[in-house]
Amino acid sequence: MRREKIKKIPALLLASAIGLAATAGCGSSAPAGSETAARSEESAKESEKKTETGTGTPEEAAEEPAGTVTISFWHHYSAQSEENKTLTEILIPEFEKENPGIQVNAVSHEWADLHDKLLISARSDTLPDVARLDSAWVPEFQKMGILVPLNQEIDGFEEAADALLESAMSTAAIGGDQYGLALNTNTKILYYNKEAFEKAGLAVPETMEDFAAACRALAGANENGQQVWGYDEPALSGWNLCPFIWSMGGALTDETQTKATGYINSPETVAAIEMLAELYQENAITGWNSGDIPMTDGFGTGRYMMLLEGPWKVAELAGAYPDFAYGTAAVPAGKDGSVSVLGGEDIAMFRTANRDAAWKFMTFMTGAYAQEEMAKCGQIPCNKEALRSDTVKNADFAPYIEQLKTAKSRPTVAAWSEIDTELATAVTAVVNGEKTAQEAMDELAPKVDQLLSE
């Protein structure tokens, strides 16, 4: 009797366990699905909220003429950020006041989501009117044929473009046409650990030779016996390598962005890769391996002594390591001077947009007023007038303004993400000692030529 009872319990447990196993087995995909669902729900709510706050009082809306146009604007200012607050509470109300009859429905996405959502929307003809695009995406979307060439099809383009920085505008220039307006820009400069440099009696590196020497001098073990590194580079893609390659006189492609042989395997480019590989093999730099300490933590806790990073690092460090003393300087100069890599965003309109309203919004967002407001929350303006304002002169990002003058954009070609993959793979083989820099770059060059010609 008792025995039988005991026998039944495991059977029940087993049955329920197998039920669980079945759900656990399918579980690997479930969280991802529900996460996206939750996220889209969130952004739906976000847009709802924004239509509420953005369109003014209901009475006003009722008074509006029948011809009211609503344009949608997709962006990746994070939902909780100062930027998003400025956008929805200051800029959009101001724009709607200046342009009666146009309403803006702004929708916030995660950075990576926005890219994928735009891809999917293009497939189902549900694109927004205007979007803020990471400048690296512009060539892809241009090749899909969904962006409007502004210089050809929009009246008043010249005037709007002249007000903006040429270097930043180059991120949206493809084959002589302009597919967006530069919205905000950024680049990387050198961050260094003040205490470590003082202790070692080192000057802040101004040249690449000084930089390499400083990496070697600062690397080693700290007083707790932990290993420390002179410099941290979190990956080996174009964004990471270009400041070294360009400053040392190398290049990825020719001026017309059609050929890599002779550029990506030039002696200068190879020398830059070799320098990084040697420093890595001497344990003087690290950062791109899966097992490494994350960048901000490593820098804030004195394990990495230098970084090349963008203006966002200021806020990150202030939040995570408020007492940490660091300084900033220009990217160390090589034989072509101090050349950093351009990041930033462009604002572009899609072919399906309401062009008049979309263009008005784009020029508003790149105008001096909106750019200065955004500068207050850390976005580096592209508008020349806004750049001369006191807001900019007193901002955290002031040191970046000088570096921006010489910064260059990565190749604006549709195959860039694949080229970037191949570049990272080739350089990974070099730093791991599987190939010499010359061998790897010689192998890479024809592959990139092929990708550029597609």
């Binding site: 087993l14 899966s290 990974t428």
Partner: protein
């Protein structure tokens, strides 16, 4: 029994909602994906998908990254499937032989199975980081290593950690399945084997194994499919680093589709994997049948 026209219509009406959902969300996407795999379906031709025949398939099989990812997936499956089954069976037999306290052990061994893949992966990553728990233990506590070992930074290092996670997490599921099977083997067979003078090993080989053959096959097929579906752990532990050397087929497919926009390539890749899995399953069934 012959059905009247009316009841047939009724049956059709009752089946319709289910079939519609199945057709819309399962059959249609598969057919569409199959078509996609023959088209130039990427950024460059988003608005004009042209038929390019087998080009996508050719591109996949000649792609060095795909070969690496495929080899990694094969290695992952070849290591984790037998290891899970052996250890799972071993634990199941131990628990089966316990006179009491079976439930406690069963729950303990089953806990990893019901823990989220994401959480387990992040914990494993934390343990095996260059600055992680294991290295701390080795260098600071037992002083077995002079300096931190870079567990995750090489191809096979990263893959091994993912395999270890897969095995650790899979033992519980195998244990439960085999335990259920062990209970179905008739006691009399063991008794008569004992009378014939069979030892523990002989009983295992001639009574236990044939008795649970069906379950072994079931586990083998399920685990092989599961091995090819590995994604979360490698994505979170190494994310393909260094230089795409630790990609598995699914992470590579995801990368090609959603990071570089090569949807045609990714579609072709998924059909190649489906084909490989189908062939493997058929082979496994054959093999098991021949042995009887």
């Amino acid at each position: 029994m012959k059905l009247k026209g009316k009841s047939r219509a009724e049956i059709a009406m009752l089946l319709l909602p289910g079939l519609l959902i199945f057709g819309t969300f399962t059959i249609y996407p598969i057919v569409r994906l199959f078509w996609m795999s023959f088209c130039g379906w990427d950024f460059g031709s988003f608005l004009k998908q042209e038929f390019i025949g087998l080009s996508n398939y050719r591109e996949v099989v000649t792609d060095g990254y795909f070969r690496t990812a495929f080899a990694n997936t094969l290695a992952y499956t070849a290591v984790t499937v037998p290891a899970q089954m052996l250890l799972g069976l071993f634990v199941a037999m131990l628990i089966h032989s316990l006179p009491r306290g079976q439930i406690g052990f069963r729950v303990a061994y089953y806990l990893p199975v019901i823990t989220s893949w994401v959480i387990c992966s992040l914990v494993f990553r934390y343990v095996f980081n260059t600055e992680g728990l294991l290295n701390y233990f080795l260098t600071q506590v037992v002083h077995a290593a002079p300096q931190n070992i870079r567990w995750l930074d090489s191809r096979w290092g990263g893959m091994s950690v993912a395999m270890l996670l897969g095995i650790w997490k899979g033992i519980g599921w195998n244990m439960v399945v085999f335990l259920a099977a062990l209970q179905t083997v008739p006691r009399e067979l063991y008794e008569s084997a004992s009378l014939d003078g069979a030892g523990a090993w002989k009983k295992f080989v001639y009574v236990t194994l044939p008795g649970i053959r069906g379950t072994l096959l079931f586990a083998l097929v399920m685990l092989t499919i599961g091995g090819f579906n590995v994604y979360t752990s490698t994505k979170l532990i190494t994310d393909g680093k260094p230089g795409h050397e630790t990609e598995v087929v699914l992470t590579w497919m995801y990368y090609k589709a959603f990071s570089t926009g090569k949807f045609g390539y990714a579609a072709a890749l998924s059909f190649i994997i489906a084909l490989v899995l189908a062939v493997l399953a058929v082979l496994q069934f054959r093999l098991m049948r021949e042995k009887t």
